[in-house]
Point group: C2
Chain length 471, copies 2
């Protein structure tokens, strides 16, 4: 039992914590990082990296089949172990990189353990009492699980935390949840020869809010996936080492309910993530923090109310986005180090990408965000069915939707459901962040033949819908 005093304590050493640390050490070396789990990142161990690795293998599996369209005929054998081995080998390589960063920090800056707030500037870590001028909460999030499923299915219940540890691809799997993670993994596994059933609660699909694109995405994905939307899960149990799932399905506006059951080797729960904020004892500071969830800090300063506490990364967001976590960590780090002098930072323009095929991406404001805020906007769609380069690639599917401001002619947002949307989304997000108008965007070079030319078509259509700019 001892007493320590720091300028800044960072709780959590993932992406946000590491990013905060990099800022804090520019101002003080009297810093401590308290971390309860492994000293790497969600991104490298169980997030972006292993999922993209699996998706990449799936792309090759799909390309091997699809090559016949180009006159290239393959007899394909998928090695279910080798696929997972590459995923794990490179996941460990990336995790090692993340750990190597932390390994370079001085030992006195690191403390393994769980922090528990006593008041706004004091914690317990084990038996020790730690006081600090300011602290940063960057404890991340974990996949949500239903305790009853856990009990019923035991090791047959997977989450994104465990699926990448499988020694081989499963024969069959039920993926529950049709958000970004559910869609990405369900499609990748199906392309790798796994028998996949995807269960959706409503008709949510990946990261799209535009109703037309959601319909199109459902149509595209159900070509290769057994997708049961509008379903509610009644019961799950094990039978002869197989997962059995009973569900009801009721379509909106219809009275009839349909019941059914599916069986598979595993069940992957992809039903969202839960913040790790509730185990920190924040309610000792103020009872109003009891049972808090999601973003409660100031979005531009990361400060929690007027306390010397800053919150950054997945712990406070519903979407686990690495680039946002890194940026929030940076802001929290700067402000914690300068506390009580804090400043707001310009946020990034929204950018989110689902790595399905075709990809789904949102840049700037989504259809839903604009509609909810009653923002006036014009909307233009371009189908990629006949887009030149996409036709060359035999990837001529999907569509894009652009949203523009009728007054300023600025581009407000975009939703994309096309191959290589990740690149188009960067182009659009950067343009939106700069406040470019449709006219300014149309003065930019578009090479030929490229997928970007579809954006130009959409911009031309959008301009045609806008009233003349006031001179």
């Amino acid at each position: 039992m001892s007493q320590h005093s720091y300028d800044v304590v960072i709780i959590g050493s993932g992406t946000a914590g590491q990013s905060a640390y990099n800022q804090v050490v520019k101002h003080t070396s009297n810093v401590l990082v308290v971390n309860a789990g492994p000293w790497d990142t969600t991104c490298a161990r169980v997030g972006c990296m292993p999922s993209k690795l699996l998706i990449e293998a799936a792309k090759y599996a799909q390309a091997s089949q699809h090559a016949s369209e180009f006159g290239i005929h393959n007899q394909t054998r998928i090695d279910a172990k080798a696929v997972m081995q590459r995923v794990q080998h490179l996941r460990d390589y990336f995790t090692g990189h993340a750990q190597a960063v932390v390994d370079q920090w001085p030992a006195e800056h690191k403390r393994q353990g769980k922090a528990h707030f006593i008041d706004a500037t004091t914690f317990k870590v084990g038996e020790d009492t730690i006081s600090t001028k300011a602290s940063i909460i960057a404890t991340g999030s974990i996949p949500r699980v239903d305790p009853q499923w856990q009990q019923a299915l035991k090791h047959k219940l997977l989450t994104s935390d465990t699926i990448f540890n499988l020694p081989a691809l499963p024969k069959s799997i039920i993926v529950v949840g049709s958000g970004a993670i559910g869609i990405e993994l369900a499609q990748a596994l199906a392309r790798l020869g796994v028998e996949v059933t995807l269960m959706g609660k409503g008709n949510d699909i990946g990261g799209l809010s535009n109703p037309d694109l959601r319909k199109l995405a459902t149509a595209l994905l159900t070509r290769e996936l057994n997708y049961i939307d509008n379903s509610s899960i009644e019961q799950v149990y094990l039978e002869a080492d197989q997962v059995v799932l009973h569900y009801h399905r009721s379509l909106p506006g219809q009275h009839n309910q349909h019941s059914g059951q599916v069986k598979a080797e595993y069940l992957l729960a992809a039903i969202g993530r839960e913040s790790n904020i509730n185990t920190l004892g924040l309610d000792n500071i103020d009872t109003k923090y009891q049972g808090i969830k999601g973003a409660i800090q100031h979005p531009l300063t990361m400060q929690l109310d007027d306390l010397p506490i800053f919150i950054a990364g997945d712990v406070s967001t519903t979407q686990a986005l690495q680039h946002e976590a890194a940026n929030a960590g940076r802001v929290a780090g700067i402000n914690a180090a300068h506390y009580p002098e804090i400043q707001p930072f310009e946020p990034y323009t929204g950018l989110s990408i689902v790595f399905s095929q075709p990809q789904m991406a949102t840049a700037g404001q989504s259809h839903q965000a604009l509609t909810r805020a009653n923002t006036p906007f014009a909307c233009a769609e371009v189908s990629y069915r006949t887009q030149g380069r996409a036709t060359i690639q035999d990837k001529n599917e999907g569509a894009i939707q652009l949203y523009g401001c009728p007054q300023s002619h600025k581009l407000l947002g975009a939703e994309l459901l096309v191959h290589e949307a990740e690149h188009l989304a960067h182009l659009l997000a950067w343009s939106i962040q700069q406040g470019l108008t449709i006219e300014q965007l149309l003065a930019m070079p578009f090479y030929h033949p490229v997928l970007e030319e579809g954006l130009r078509t959409a911009l031309v259509r959008l301009r045609a819908q806008l009233p003349e700019l006031a001179p």
Copy 2:
């Protein structure tokens, strides 16, 4: 023999001519397009489109082999006829689209034939004399051929005009010329199982000017290509229906010459393109136009000296770039229609892409352009050997080079030798066209894990090399 008088005559109906026509008809219907060849575009018939189609097939062939790295094992059979059939089928589809545009023009706007200037406002087309207030030359270019080779090799000598008509992939080919077209086709054919020898004159490689990237590109391409650089061709002839080519090879700074010969089914001449400007009788207007080549018009107005003549598209450039041809046609169209009131138009920021694997791209000013103009610049390189997403994709090769202005901190240019460079190049070209500084670029969102993050690394390195911005 008859006399006609027009407001604008457009000579050539390709990309630049069509683009000019679209502008001219906004102002006058007294317009004539005179065209000597087919009423489609170089791009669709023998340029961008068929080459990208062949390259796409090559990607699938390469992916089929490469899939084993991901645990996906293919026994691959390449159907040499089917590969070419898809290329031809879709080429005809794109050509049909280009023709369909022209089919919509009124018959009285079109005239098949060859135009010959008598003076600055009068031509002959066949027996007819045509006078016009203004004219636009958009007659394009054709692949350069050596008449001796033509005579010696007959139908065994191919150019980009003829290679896409082959009924099947050849067994073997000698590609002469290591510029964009030579590299693209040599690599694609090699990946499709054709035995390829690539002959280079100096050590030019594709579209890169940066010495480090050129070295790297040579190293990457010679892994899969028999590339004989610094060669001069002594003799070509046919022997038992095979092309035989004798060459000398002398490395710069070395006295020893090496001689050799290669044999193949075909020889593809990819030694540049020649403007079609010299057959128009421009020397009847002024003898100084005798034997002219390349860009002689004003680069911002497209006007030829102070004449009512505008020049647009491949006819006046060494690089055949569709998006530049379309833009030049637009400018020429507007200015010809308004003649004598003409105005300069802002040019696009330079953007060129070679669709090799990895791709080569230049955005803004190249290393060579900056060096030749004695522009002060700082330079930062990032290798993609350990880039995250590229590692996931097993495409972690190549590098990028960014050039920045030490005074203004603006990004001046970039050269890229990485996979998917086409997308990164758009991001950079748009940023350069807007005059963004390194600091402004670093405030943009970079998703994770994406290839764009390599740009951020390069921007950080570039910033570290620049003196502080004057406050």
